[in-house]
């Protein structure tokens, strides 16, 4: 309990002081995306890592939130602070409706169904040109503003988005450490035993699917108001897979793991730019090596690695 609180406080202090290191440079902009990706990875982790239910369509919920916010503000002149919760509620309702039939499926079938869902949403973004602008995109989305301050620079967006990300981290940690979190893990380990214990597995899965979709939608809204421009290609199948990779590489069932996974997969391409044409090969190779040698993800693999290295050194000194 107490340790968890201290861990979170340290994390929050690091997050809020990090911009001092960036000197307003390019890295600040990248870390804005790390924040958004962390929210998305946590959303998917609640579903996959805790409840054990896969989704290959989460980029769709992210896109729905982004486009709903974008269209309501740019086309209909709503205030972003109103558009964001309204979009999230609409996405929640949609996820609830989709969730009941889709979450009856298990394993590969659920993967296929959510994949289909993601693809349909993507097609809708492309085809409803009157609203979304289709493949050429939607522009003119306003920045968010608070008390006359517009979030129009990297530093302001950094603090806006990381405030939301830290909230997501905190609420998810709370949830994971509660009767609901336990029920989710119980469903993951043995659905039949969880039901015998009185857990309404079916309803719980739908609820967590909807919550997960809501977090994606909120992240989408933030993305829309930060970028001020949206194109369907950001919300396709590729991005759903990237989210899945973040969750798995970071560590299933760990909230901080989702941050690590999101940070790595967002930063890596930036650092690999120097390798020009080989970047994608190195990227893929690294992911493979990590899944083989850190099957529990970064959040469990890094401490194990540190332990192995330090004990190895000590062993060497003695010899």
């Amino acid at each position: 309990m107490q340790r968890e609180r201290i861990k979170f406080l340290i994390f929050a202090v690091l997050v809020f002081s990090a911009p001092l290191l960036f000197n307003g440079g390019y890295l600040m902009n990248v870390f804005v995306f790390v924040g958004i990706h962390t929210m998305l990875a946590i959303a998917l982790n609640l579903l996959l890592g805790y409840a054990g239910q896969i989704s290959l369509g989460h980029a769709g919920f992210f896109g729905l939130g982004a486009y709903a916010s974008g269209i309501l503000t740019a086309t209909f002149g709503w205030n972003p602070w109103l558009a964001m919760p309204v979009s999230a509620l609409a996405v929640a309702a949609l996820a609830y409706l989709i969730g009941f039939p889709i979450l009856k499926l298990k394993g590969h079938y659920l993967a296929m169904a959510t994949l289909g869902m993601g693809i349909i949403i993507y097609i809708v973004f492309n085809e409803t040109i009157d609203y979304t602008g289709g493949p050429s995109g939607l522009s003119g989305i306003p920045n968010m503003s608070l008390g006359g301050v517009s979030f129009d620079s990297d530093i302001k967006n950094y603090y806006l988005i990381w405030t939301c990300t830290l909230l997501t981290v905190l609420l998810s940690l709370n949830l994971a450490d509660s009767r609901i979190g336990r029920a989710l893990r119980a469903v993951h380990d043995s659905e039949v035993a969880a039901r015998v214990m009185g857990v309404n597995a079916r309803l719980l899965k739908v609820q967590i699917f909807a919550l997960s979709a809501v977090i994606c939608s909120l992240a989408g809204s933030l993305y829309a108001h930060t970028m001020t421009f949206l194109a369907p290609s950001s919300f396709g199948f590729n991005f759903s897979v990237e989210l899945l990779t973040m969750v798995v590489i970071g560590g299933l069932g760990s909230i901080y793991g989702s941050f690590l996974g999101a940070a790595l997969l967002t930063l890596l391409p930036e650092f690999l730019r120097a390798a020009h044409d080989y970047d994608i090969v190195i990227y893929g190779g690294l992911l493979m090596v990590m899944t083989i040698f850190m099957p529990g993800g970064l959040v469990r693999g890094i401490p194990a690695l540190v332990r192995a290295l330090t004990s190895g050194k000590r062993g060497g000194g003695n010899a």
Partner: protein
Amino acid sequence: MLEVKGITQIFGGVTALEDVSFSIAKGHITGVIGPNGAGKTTLFNIVTGIYSQTCGTVSLDGRDISGLPPEKLASLGMVRTFQNIELFGQMTVRENVMVGLHSKSSCGLISCAFKAPWATSEERRIREEAMKWIDFVGITDLADATASNLPFGKGRLLEIARALALEPGIILMDEPAAGLNSQETLGLADLIRRIRDMGITVVLVEHDMELVMDICDRIVVLNLGKKLAEGTPRQIQENPEVIAAYLGGDE
């Protein structure tokens, strides 16, 4: 009181159960026995809502519970254990039992996420109550162990503790002595008696004849999907049909 009436179950062409009826008195330990393939597991799965039967009704305290899902049965005070213990392997012993208290707590997604004051106090109550059941089955020293690391015998005790946390009116155990050594089986017999003495009705499917004859107040014998006999352990041991079909058979 649990009452089973005219249960028939057909899987494809196989009739696993045919017109089985019996009733189980409150506060007793009742054993369901029979040779392999007699239909015991099938009957258990029907009563506990895992399968739904082809025909017949199951009622609990006069209320028709046929076809209700397990989570609904839990709220009506019926719980079960599994032959191949179904633990929540990644969770600790204590957390496993805390899941058993799920239906005795009520905080939802939102109040849990915001750690509302009532959620925190409920959590504290769940934690304390779980410990009570861990003590009851005698695995106090393992409270913080991960469930999947437990030896089989301890896992069995954990499964029982988790089921008791629901404070059920009736507990059904599917071969609780399977995989236990003789020492552990003795402990189990004692535990099952203590459970009955709390006023909980116990039903068990069991292969260990010695255990069944020792602890059961009544016994129902199934053979080839039909009820063959019903009575006290003494009556069953003396029943010529049972001896012919079962006790004198391959067991």
